[in-house]
Symmetry: C2
Subunit: 380 residues, 2 copies
């Protein structure tokens, strides 16, 4: 992987660049649509190309469970499996430790049905028993069938190699916003050990490996983590874990962290996807993003524009003959009225979900292009 910085802003820490991988190039700042299970929900690879996306991020944990990374390897890797000839990044699976373990315990993070179909959910204590973290690795149970698995940095790297992504992430422990200083420190120290083990396990030189900075909302931990992870020979860096309880805190964390990371390597902000946050984070020096936000909103009947979020489930939109955004050049806005889209969403038609996901991702893609232009024109 090669990262080339084309322009650095004089007004902020923003920069425009290129990430070149064996399977394609992305122009940064870039937003990765999330193809959790080897598809961006409701869309296929040709839709992504039609929108203009040159890269997606897939989820190691989900693909490990279904269909399994060895199966994807038999299909010659993710690019061939999902027929996407662009850049594919995979996360490390570490976030699932958070969303399936601590997240459930604290009532934070992604809500996951423990046993789909079971009437009585498990109690807090039982939920907690779904994940057991030690320095060696993590025991967890599949959210699908409760089957027990053991993940280590070495295993995460092996899975990501089998998936054949262009950009892999080192295995990390993603601590909870409710963890205290002492636990967050412990998790960070473990993440640092795992970072070294991830680097040692990583043999495929065609695949880039990104390290992940942890440390929660604690300034001295974030600084320690950024210095340590930043000193390792990663190809790029993710900023992950708890980004604090407020937006203010999140941007403080970026201020503490980014200056300590190598200037010539890309920085990825994990899981952040509001438009206003993306723009501010770019100014702080973030190069790439990923988030399920535009497709999750689309599937739930929300259309995103730069000015507002439109809830198409509301009956008043049935009357509207105009598109979501008359200035939007996307296939959906050129062809369908808000009235029609509202009807499709209100009648639970899959077509409606799909059209909104398409529009929302088109908006994100163009939003990122505008940001790049603004940096190039010296406006950011």
């Amino acid at each position: 992987m090669e990262f080339r910085i084309i322009k650095k802003s004089k007004k902020s820490k923003a920069r425009v660049g290129l990430i070149k991988t064996p399977n394609g190039t992305i122009s940064t700042p870039y937003f990765f649509p999330v193809a959790t299970q080897a598809t961006v929900k409701t869309l296929d690879s040709s839709d992504l190309r039609a929108i203009g996306f040159d890269g997606v991020l897939c989820n190691t944990y989900h693909l490990f469970l279904r269909p399994g990374s060895s199966l994807i390897k038999k299909h010659n890797g993710l690019h061939s499996f999902m027929n996407f000839d662009g850049v594919i990044a995979t996360d490390s699976g570490g976030f699932q430790v958070f969303s399936l373990g601590k997240g459930l315990e604290d009532g934070i993070g992604k809500i996951v049905k423990i046993f789909p179909g079971s009437k009585t959910n498990k109690t807090k204590k039982q939920q907690n028993s779904f994940v057991k973290i030690s320095d060696k690795g993590v025991y967890f149970r599949s959210h699908l069938d409760g089957k027990l698995f053991f993940f280590t940095p070495e295993k995460s790297i092996k899975i990501q190699e089998e998936l054949g992504s262009d950009i892999a992430f080192a295995f990390d422990e993603c601590s909870s916003p409710l963890d205290n200083f002492s636990y967050t420190k412990k998790a960070m120290e473990r993440t640092h050990k795992w970072a070294i083990r991830s680097l040692n396990a990583h043999k495929n030189k065609k695949q880039a490996l990104f390290g992940i900075v942890q440390g929660g909302e604690y300034k001295n931990l974030r600084i320690e983590s950024a210095k340590f992870i930043g000193s390792l020979p990663f190809d790029g860096f993710g900023i992950g874990g708890s980004l604090g309880k407020t937006k203010k805190k999140m941007f403080e964390i970026l201020d503490w962290t980014i200056p300590l990371l190598p200037q010539n390597k890309p920085r990825h902000l994990l899981g952040i996807g509001y438009l206003e946050d993306i723009k501010r984070a770019v100014k702080k020096g973030i190069d790439t993003f990923d988030c399920v936000y535009p497709t999750r909103l689309g599937r739930h009947g929300f259309a995103i524009t730069e000015k507002k979020i439109i809830n198409l489930k509301r009956a008043k939109y049935l009357q509207v003959k105009q598109p979501i955004d008359k200035n939007c050049q996307c296939f959906v806005c050129r062809n369908y009225s808000m009235g029609y889209l509202s009807h499709l969403i209100r009648t639970q038609e899959i077509t409606g979900m799909r059209l909104l996901c398409f529009h929302n991702l088109w908006l994100f893609k163009n939003f990122m292009e505008k940001i790049r232009k603004e940096i190039l024109n010296g406006k950011i």
Copy 2:
């Protein structure tokens, strides 16, 4: 509407023709994909055009309930609402009398949740009270919220005019396969009276109106109905209602009915969609078909080929690198393996449903084209 017969087979009653409407032309024999709620499930109008469909059939009952035909009129009719510039047919709503009323009583027909969200379903007697048929019209309750409505032939025609379809159907009573001779006769006689009322109510001369032959599985009723409906100045004819309990019976019904219908007008077989039945029905003189079968199968994970139906939920297909059909030229077969499609279906990805619906409809479209060619070449 104009119906032009291009060629009549010498080997069978099959014929090749054109149905010209103000919004487009379809080549017959033709299969209408069903756009129940103004969309073919999982697809949009541009997909239909990409496959090559020049016409769809929408459902009057569903569109009357949501979003309402007056709202669609405000959007300048269905063509504008769903942005489809081809032929649009609408059924009469009569089938819902069957599927919501007698169908539930007899345990036949489409299964409809009476009150979605309610824990206790209504008893048989209560279900039966959902529809009350008299010569004047039909009282029924919405399957969505239980609201009471009254449909008459005049109302069905008015709704279809508001929808702005190119081909409307006369309002009929669709009797059940379990109805005895005496009830089926009564329903047929009512259908005949309603046919005249539908014709009298129908003022929009840009819209074609098709009559529907009823009479269940009873030879003398079918003959009586075909003679009567066939003598009325309809633009075409549907063959509807119970087509008997066996396939043999269905084709007997076509043999009794079709010779009594005007030779120069199109004949539509309502709701039939197995490939082998379509081909046989074409030989009996049927010109057009409609059925949810290809999209329903697609949404449930089944891929259709001319030789077999493939259940992609089965794990063994995960291994397969080949497409559904290596000879199929559809976008799905050119781009994705059965392994990938199986993974998408097994993980309940909407993308998987959509890709299978696309493939299945592509197959149907090409199957109909082959039939047309075979008639033109004197092979059928």
